[in-house]
């Protein structure tokens, strides 16, 4: 059974194909593992055990009849609770959506269901994906399987905790400013943010629509490419979803990086990261060189303004997106109000948590009359400068590498009273969302300071996921990181 818990999704698919195991056996092993570990880590908000069993039985029947829907038919999957799931409670980590049962499936969910992947459940997250630690969930924090007193990162903290603890082989997360990559880094996993528009946002509860992207959280680079294959590509339900045909991301993934030009950001060297993080990242640069890559310094002078710009743009968009929670059509409604304005205002005061209120206030202020040009307008111009920094760098290099997070996992409660310190967790990841590029975090070992995982971020130009996967795969295979948390 241990083999089933720790196998990659690709290995499970192979075992199913060879009839060495059934989908029901896989589902039962993962359900038993979740029973064992989830009380310690609180990764799941909703477990759909019965549905997983039912889906697995149907998958076994399909496979027996030679009608498997995909190579991954029968390999179970879990979703961050930001994806709406028909008939399965979806809260986005918020009390304002407590008990909400969506009448439709997100496109990501529909495509994975179509490929025959049984659903294990819905995973914990910072409320409306606003946070870097999963402590902002209205339903309690998730803990890091590597250190139960530490955060798993966020906002996709439930997704990474489940995969890192063996309670799901892989999961979907979302990334607006680093919410897939940072938690993947803090839990020793692979986390990938696709190019903006590559994966449909339909049915993904909106936070900051010009930045939000769904992406895979996995134990191997190969699995990340495989999961992206299942969901990427045009969707008429999302007008911002790119219509170009998508390649097979697994094809050529083992092509190596000999001769590849990789940029190292001048401004991100030295100060700003923990010594243990720096040590592992420096080591990783040498490994990339050893594998044949040519390292080149690239200057990104506007990156230092990334956090400031992001924490104006994202709250502005969120203040507009979250206006829909008005207590009228779905979700919570405050009792006893006798006019519509107080009903709405009290509903929102009761339903939203501290961080969400803070960002709605910040965004409303940044967009309000008299301040728009000074804040939101300036932030949008900085966004242009950051995009230009990337474009200039890509004239000389194929990929850019940075640490994923300046620190390893921090302790629960350590940053909850200092929102600005929390925001600075995202310093290396935010510029990628502002420019809409693709990026992946891959484990690069454990920090010598505290024994916790460190992640390396590999950034590629928009729609150049294949080059990114190739580098990540070569790095992963050479490093051979196989540490697991002791739970």
């Amino acid at each position: 059974m241990d083999d089933l818990i720790w196998a990659s999704a690709t290995e499970l698919a192979e075992a199913l194909k060879e009839h060495e195991v059934s989908a029901v056996e896989i589902a039962e092993a993962l359900i038993a593992r979740a029973d064992e570990v989830d009380p310690k880590i609180h990764a799941y908000l909703e477990r759909t055990d019965d549905r997983a069993r039912r889906d697995a039985r149907a998958s076994d029947a399909r496979r027996a009849a030679g009608e498997a829907h995909s190579a991954f038919d029968g390999v179970p999957l879990a979703y961050k609770d930001i994806f709406v799931t028909r008939g399965v409670t979806t809260t986005c980590g918020s009390k304002i959506l407590e008990g909400f049962v969506p009448p439709y499936d997100a496109t990501v969910v529909a495509r994975c269901e179509g490929a025959g992947l049984p659903m294990l459940g819905k995973l914990n997250m910072d409320e409306f994906a606003m946070g870097s630690s999963t402590e902002n969930s209205a339903f309690g924090a998730t803990r890091n399987p590597w250190d139960l007193d530490a955060v798993p990162g966020g906002s996709s903290g439930g997704s990474v905790a489940a995969v890192a603890a063996g309670a799901a082989p892989w999961a979907w997360g979302t990334d607006t400013g680093g919410s897939i990559r940072q938690p993947a880094s803090l839990c020793g996993l692979v986390g990938m943010k696709p190019t903006y528009g590559l994966v449909s946002r339909y049915g993904m509860i909106a936070f900051a629509s010009s930045l939000d992207q769904a992406g895979p959280i996995t134990r191997t680079v190969e699995d990340a490419a495989a999961l992206l294959n299942l969901a990427a590509g045009g969707d008429e339900m999302d007008s911002t979803c790119l219509k170009e045909p998508v390649p097979n991301y697994l094809e050529g993934i083992d092509g190596g990086i000999d001769g590849m030009r990789i940029g190292v950001v001048t401004e991100f060297q030295g100060e700003g990261s923990q010594p243990g993080v720096r040590a592992r990242v420096d080591e990783s640069l040498r490994r990339l060189e050893k594998l044949g890559a040519q390292l080149e310094e690239v200057s990104m002078p506007s990156f230092e303004h990334g956090i400031s710009a992001y924490y104006l743009i994202a709250p502005a968009e969120c203040s507009s997106n979250l206006a829909r929670y008005d207590g009228v059509r779905y979700g919570r409604r405050a009792a006893g109000a006798d006019d519509i304005v107080s009903m709405t205002s009290r509903t929102r005061a009761e339903g939203f948590g501290r961080e969400v209120k803070r960002r709605i206030m910040l965004g409303t202020y940044a967009l309000s009359a008299g301040y728009y040009d000074a804040y939101y307008g300036k932030a949008q111009k900085v966004r242009t400068l950051i995009t230009r920094d990337f474009e200039r760098a890509y004239e000389r290099v194929d990929l850019i590498v940075t640490p994923t997070s300046p620190t390893t996992a921090f302790k629960l409660g350590e940053r909850t009273d200092d929102p600005l310190a929390m925001y600075l967790s995202d310093v290396f990841t935010v510029p990628v969302n502002l420019a809409g590029n693709a990026a992946i975090s891959v484990p690069c070992g454990l920090s010598p300071d505290d024994g916790l995982p460190v992640g390396l971020q590999i950034i590629a130009r928009s729609l150049d996921e294949k080059t990114m996967f190739r580098a990540a795969y070569a790095f992963e295979q050479d490093l051979g990181f196989d540490e697991r948390p002791q739970l």
Binding site: P103, G197, H305, V328, R329, S345, A349, T364
Partner: protein
């Protein structure tokens, strides 16, 4: 840039958030801190730089205007806090004359 209490009250009203006094006080301090961090970009000379509102240069994505199946009224109302006669029910909006 520090945010005064009147500005906090004004923004809370715009955002339809019925905050407590303690929340308003904390918000005033926290927003002031965050805006101070954003001060750096306020001082940048960005005159001729065009703004980016979106990473993709898409506009007017259209599809044919044709009727398609959609949620039934029952499904659409299933999550409503209050509904009546196939409609969402809300407190009175228009006062008596």
């Amino acid at each position: 840039m520090s945010l005064d209490r009147a500005a906090v009250d004004h923004v809370a009203r715009l955002a339809r958030l019925d905050l407590t006094d303690a929340e308003r006080e904390r918000m005033q301090k926290e927003l002031t801190d965050i805006l101070a961090h954003a001060e750096k970009i306020q001082n940048l000379d960005l005159g001729p730089v065009p703004p980016t509102s979106h990473a993709l240069a898409l506009s007017n994505v259209l599809r044919p205007d044709e009727a398609r199946p959609s949620l039934s009224p029952e499904e659409a109302l299933a999550n409503a806090p209050d509904a009546q006669d196939g409609r969402f029910r809300v407190p009175r909006i228009i006062e008596d004359a």
